[in-house]
């Protein structure tokens, strides 16, 4: 198997490309049929693995935390949470930013890497996009429920009403509504358009009449003609071009929720790029968290190879370094600003009553990943990467915790200093959203092709045009 054998011995390891010495993006020996079977059979199988039912059940049980938590929240009010004055933002906002951040890697993989013509994205793009959408679902819950009167949340939408009242378009929280709803819409459209050719394949391979109908309707009569493909590729590129600024602006808007405020620790101009880098960082960590078990359980090592894990780890290293730079700049500017408040904010962050949060953040986000990810040996160590991805996700949660809580609970007026202690309802809803995510993701894995077959087929050696060769006109050209 891929993980075994000496690392750089092409003679021993068939996964290593003998020409470049790199790990192959797709294991050798595959053809159109074999990759199609590999992926389509996961969905079209008659024997759903027991583990799937088990996972769905566990996820569903945990997701009950959201249902119960939100029901109680709506009945009793936001006072069941640990939010108080001055710390009026707590878990809800932390988790919102955390989930939205996780979603961003999916769009990065599907859009930005497409613009850069990184073909290795093809194997991971579909489930990364699914991750985006489900993360946005989890994230989108929080802005709706953390308001005291959630049944009036539609007032955030600009619609002609009998009050002649419109949203305040100068509030970043109103921009959040537009950013997140646009992000969710575009992500779903991009995801769906990408799946249309695969739905065609599923329709043609399905045996059960119901499956034929279902995938037939979803594939919208896709026949795979040249016209279809030209338009499909154009639409994909356009959507990628649109999603790229979108993904950067969405998390920028979310960073504005803080940066626009005048609070020491929030009012920082570095937030937009630093939040986006953090989003990609945590997002890639989540992709790894999902990819590593997926390739193991569904035997996808041939298409999600060590090359992918290595590349993702490199992106994490890059974005993690940007995040590290962000932390360093925050510390530096707190000193350089000569502002008493900034200085105190940073001192309090490090050595105040919640200093442990800051050092957890430094440990899990900076110390562990940024020292280890330089090593290629560790980057292709599946177990290590999996554990690291969990560590980084924890770290990125702590980043938002530190930003939200430690800036709020001790600010300008010492008479309004307080503390923040999350209640069981905070934890229940947060953990519940993980269950919700799990349920959605398990359904995705079971019913939709989790790896784009059409894009994998284009990467196979037999699609490559041999320039000037006699068979140049007969092979399928790679159009991406």
């Amino acid at each position: 198997m891929a993980t075994k054998g000496p690392l750089h011995d092409p003679v021993v390891d068939p996964m290593i490309d003998p020409r470049t010495g790199e790990y192959a993006v797709i294991a050798p020996g595959h053809n159109f049929k074999s990759v199609t079977t590999l992926i389509a059979d996961i969905v079209l199988t008659e024997n759903t693995p027991l583990g799937w039912f088990f996972g769905l059940m566990v996820g569903g049980g945990v997701a009950m935390g959201v249902v119960v938590g939100i029901t109680w929240l709506f009945l009793k009010g936001v006072g069941i949470w640990g939010v108080t004055m001055p710390g009026a933002w707590g878990f809800a906002i932390i988790n919102f930013v955390w989930w939205i951040g996780i979603g961003h890697a999916g769009t990065l993989i599907s859009a930005i890497l497409l613009l850069f013509k990184q073909t290795w994205r093809n194997s991971i793009n579909r489930f990364a996009e699914a991750m985006t959408i489900f993360a946005v679902v989890c994230a989108g819950t929080f802005p709706l429920i953390h308001v005291g009167r959630p049944w009036l949340a539609y007032w955030l939408m600009p619609y002609p009403n009998t009050m002649n009242v419109w949203p305040q378009f100068r509030s970043p929280l109103a921009w959040d509504v537009f950013a997140v709803s646009t992000y969710a819409t575009i992500s779903i459209v991009f995801w769906y358009i990408g799946m249309i050719p695969d739905f065609g394949t599923m329709r043609d391979r399905a045996v059960l009449p119901f499956a034929k109908y279902a995938y037939g309707i979803l594939s919208l009569g896709w026949r795979g003609s040249t016209r279809h493909w030209i338009r499909y590729e154009t639409a994909s590129l356009l959507l990628a071009g649109l999603s790229t600024p979108l993904v950067l602006s969405v998390h920028t808007v979310i960073s504005f929720d803080f940066a626009v405020a005048s609070l020491a620790g929030w009012h920082t101009t570095i937030f937009p790029p630093y939040f986006v880098a953090g989003a990609v960082y945590s997002g890639f960590a989540m992709v790894l968290t999902l990819a590593i078990p997926l390739r193991k359980i569904y035997h996808l090592e041939d298409v999600v190879t060590l090359r992918h894990l290595d590349n993702m780890a490199k992106v994490m290293l890059a974005t993690g370094s940007i995040v590290g730079y962000g932390y360093a700049m925050e510390v530096f500017m707190s000193w350089f600003s000569a502002s008493h408040w900034e200085f105190f904010m940073m001192w309090n962050r490090m050595f105040g009553p919640m200093g442990w949060g800051y050092w957890m953040l430094i440990l899990t986000n900076i110390a562990i990943p940024l020292t280890t990810l330089w090593s290629r040996k560790l980057r292709v160590n599946v177990t290590f990467l999996f554990i690291l991805s969990l560590i980084v996700n924890t770290g990125m949660w702590f980043e938002r915790f530190v930003i939200v809580v430690t800036s709020l609970y001790r600010d300008y007026l010492p008479s309004s200093w307080g503390t923040y202690r999350a209640t069981k309802w905070d934890y229940m809803i947060y953990i519940g959203t993980m269950g919700l995510f799990t349920v959605l993701f398990f359904c995705f894995v079971r019913f939709l092709p989790m790896i784009p077959m059409s894009e994998l087929r284009m990467m196979l050696p037999q699609t490559k045009v041999k320039r000037g060769g006699s068979d140049a006109e007969t092979v399928v050209e790679e159009t991406a």
Binding site: N161, T162, Y213
Partner: protein, 265 residues
């Protein structure tokens, strides 16, 4: 392999596209209409009052002026519903045996209030002030409709915020001389019935600083106005009169009048 979908699916697919669009549009239009419909606003609905009091009979028929019963309308934020005493002023002698009036007599005998049902019921986060409107030249009929023609009370207007704001942003269209406030039939100046106004010089922020008279074309042209030598202007359109009165009454700008604290304290 057999076809999964037969030819009729083509029509279904096209129809579903069109229908989706139509349904979305219909939903939008429907909701927009619904929020302004009488079903939501309760316009024109006549609730069952304990006594079927007829404004038509008392105002149109008997010629009572509004303030006879709603005494505090010029002095208080609340116009007031008359107490049983006001009814008894007359009904101690008139229709003393009418079954309709039994709740009134009962109230008078026991001291229990009559449970009138509020037709114009604003939410309690709206601090409506009657006094300011009456004193700044808004007649009863502008908001409450032709109450003198209502056998049973109902709401003429929506009382929705957009309705309030429409006037606060452009009060001129509804302004009238303070002498015409309780005139339910006031129709605004016209070529046939111009309005002559002049400043009385009494100043102050209330409407008492201007004196107006309706001029009937057939009547005398020299109207007697209470003046201190100001120029008498004659208006033949509501637009001109509104502009003049806005200025004379010192009515604040649309910006100030649509600021939240005007109504929501």
């Amino acid at each position: 392999m057999a076809q999964v979908f037969d030819r009729s699916s083509n029509a279904l697919a096209r129809m579903s596209l069109v229908l989706t669009g139509l349904i979305v549009i219909a939903l939008g239009v429907g909701l927009d209409q619904l929020q302004r419909s009488p079903w939501v606003t309760r316009q024109g609905q006549r609730p069952d009052q304990p006594v079927p009091f007829s404004h038509k009979h008392h105002v149109e028929g008997l010629g009572l002026q509004c303030q006879y019963c709603h005494t505090s309308v010029e002095k208080s934020s609340y116009a007031g519903i008359p107490p049983t005493k006001t009814c008894i002023n007359c009904h101690a002698q008139i229709w003393t045996n009418a079954a309709l009036l039994e709740p009134v007599r009962h109230s008078w005998a026991t001291g229990e209030s009559i449970n009138w049902i509020k037709v114009h019921d604003l939410p309690d986060y709206v601090y409506f002030n009657h006094e300011i409107h009456v004193n700044k030249g808004i007649g009863c009929a502008s908001c409450h409709g032709r109450v003198d023609e209502m056998p049973l009370m109902y709401m003429q207007n929506t009382l929705q915020m957009e309705w309030c704001l429409n006037c606060h942003r452009n009060p001129g269209v509804n302004l009238r001389p303070t002498s015409e406030i309780y005139n339910m039939a006031w129709a605004g100046p016209s070529e046939e019935k111009p309005v002559a106004c002049t400043s009385t010089g009494k100043g102050g922020p209330t409407a008492q600083s201007v004196s107006c008279k309706v001029v009937d074309k057939g009547g005398p042209l020299n109207v007697s106005l209470e003046t201190t030598g100001g120029m008498t202007q004659t208006f033949t359109s509501q637009a001109d009169l509104g502009r003049f009165l806005t200025q004379q009454y010192h009515i604040r700008s649309a910006n100030e009048l649509s600021s939240c604290e005007v109504c929501h304290r």
